[in-house]
């Protein structure tokens, strides 16, 4: 019999990551949220605080020095952050989507060493998947990596790179070679000093203003091993899409949660003024609360759906799973607007004004972005196509 003391149990608090993210959200992201929104500036204080606690490497396995956090923990943390500052939460979510892709599809020594370095230096990663000339289809590229003598070169016209100017590394899609068809793509990790970004235009948007997402011309080169081992189509199907839809939905739920909190406080304040009279808006609050519950339970269930099969590439590649994860994105991005709008009707002018404890202008503007970032119509179009052959559960 082996001694039970042979391997000391790891004392871990499974909610440590989400609790720490929630604290940073409450103490740091929240107080800065209006300024980040108004000035359209990068939420640097949130990123610095996450860095200081090593939370940018939350998803990196313990064997590489990271925290080995689960997706449900991270999801919870992002709900808390989305509640306080959706721009901060979106930057953090997008960073973790890139890290997840590295962790799950970067197996060579260079990429593993990079992950160890990321833990140490707390790098912030960004993404350049869209490209001028592809009509918004991230599944095809115009640009190609030029690999010669063990090094790659890449130039890409990216219409959007969120927080590109603030990132320490960028994962960019490109065709595998100059001869490859548009959909034979790879994902290349581009790092300074061999990464150059030339900004094209400004980011002055209705919401998610702090994500600082202008266009760039990206020029990069580097060791060819910085190209992820798996083709982008696999990275996308098995990791980027499901993780993105889960993490985005998490912060959108945070926006909805902030809205319904205000609605609840508003109704309760009314009720206190005239005890014995149920305020008219209470019924609508009941309605909005049911909607919010749908949203929260959908997210929880979707995270579990992913976590259950996260190490099974075959099941991750099944049509039914892809359809479900696309449906999550479309439902969540619709529900967030519905909950915010309902909450505004409940709070009335107090939510429409910009200067009350019930103000919801920022939340409404942010929530509308949800259905546009990867347009819901495009996602539903993909599902429509898959449903031509899907056989049901």
């Amino acid at each position: 019999m082996t001694s039970i003391t042979e391997e000391a149990p790891v004392v871990s608090d499974s909610n440590a990551v989400s609790r720490r993210m929630a604290r940073i959200a409450d103490e740091i992201s929240g107080p800065a949220a209006d300024e980040v929104d108004q000035q359209g500036r990068f939420p640097s204080e949130t990123i610095s605080a996450l860095r200081a606690e090593g939370l940018l490497s939350a998803l990196i396995p313990r064997s590489l020095g990271g925290m080995g956090a689960s997706y449900s923990e991270l999801s919870q943390g992002l709900v808390s952050m989305g509640r306080q500052c959706a721009s901060s939460a979106m930057v953090v979510a997008m960073h973790h989507i890139q890290v997840a892709s590295l962790v799950r599809h970067g197996r060579n020594d260079l990429l593993r060493n990079y992950m160890v370095e990321l833990v140490d230096r707390q790098y912030l990663l960004a993404s350049a998947t869209t490209e001028v000339g592809t009509g918004g289809d991230v599944g095809s590229s115009v640009c190609a990596v030029d690999v010669a003598g063990g090094t790659f070169r890449l130039e890409k016209q990216a219409p959007v790179i969120s927080y590109g100017r603030f990132a320490d590394g960028i994962l960019a899609t490109a065709r595998r070679s100059a001869d490859s068809p548009e959909n034979d793509q790879v994902l290349a990790l581009c790092r300074p000093p061999e990464l150059e970004l030339e900004q094209v235009g400004e980011w002055n948007a209705l919401g998610f203003r702090g994500t600082c997402s202008p266009g760039f011309i990206l020029r990069a080169s580097g060791d060819a091993a910085a190209i992820l081992d798996d083709p982008y189509s696999d990275v996308s199907t098995q990791t980027m899409l499901p993780v993105a839809h889960i993490l985005w939905s998490s912060l959108w739920l945070g926006i909805a949660s902030a809205a319904i909190d205000r609605a609840r406080r508003f109704v309760q304040a009314e009720a206190r003024k005239r005890p014995g009279m149920t305020p008219a808006a209470a019924l609508r609050l009941a309605d909005a609360t049911a909607l919010y519950q749908q949203f929260a339970d959908l997210l929880r269930c979707s995270v579990a759906r992913f976590e259950d099969i996260q190490d099974d590439p075959d099941r991750l590649s099944a049509l039914g799973f892809a359809i479900a994860m696309n449906s999550l994105k479309v439902s969540a991005s619709t529900l967030v607007v519905d909950v915010v709008r309902q909450s505004m009707v409940i709070c009335g002018l107090a939510s429409y004004r910009m200067d009350t404890p019930y103000s919801l202008g920022r939340h409404l503007r942010d929530s509308i972005g949800a259905s546009l970032m990867v347009n819901n119509d495009r996602i539903m179009g993909n599902n429509a196509q898959m449903l031509l052959v899907h056989r049901g559960e």
Binding site: G139, S140, R176, S180, P181, E182, N183, D184, P231, S233, T237, D314, S317, A318, L319, G320, Q385, M386, L388, V389, H390, R391, G392
Partner: protein
């Protein structure tokens, strides 16, 4: 028409390959040859029509349609089912 000819015809019409479906090697990766996932759905539908079969849920994987050889074994498996 042989099964392989039918498969190649379907690929020519619906695969949107960057190469000639009539002459590519039966083990060539079709996705690396330009077939998008959208195109692969059309290939699937056309194969079902041509062979009067219905691919089962577990066959609806990228790997089933990644080459002419893979498609042939998938079709045969469904014909036997």
């Amino acid at each position: 028409m042989t099964m392989d000819e039918t498969i190649r015809d379907v690929l020519t019409e619906h695969g949107r390959l960057a190469v000639d479906a009539g002459s590519i090697d039966e083990t060539t990766d079709l996705f690396a040859s330009g077939m998008t996932s959208h195109a692969s759905v059309n290939v699937m539908l056309a194969l079902e029509d041509a062979f009067d079969i219905e691919f089962s849920e577990k066959m609806l994987r990228k790997s089933t349609f990644e080459s002419i050889a893979a498609i042939r074994s998938g079709v045969l498996e469904m014909k036997d089912a």
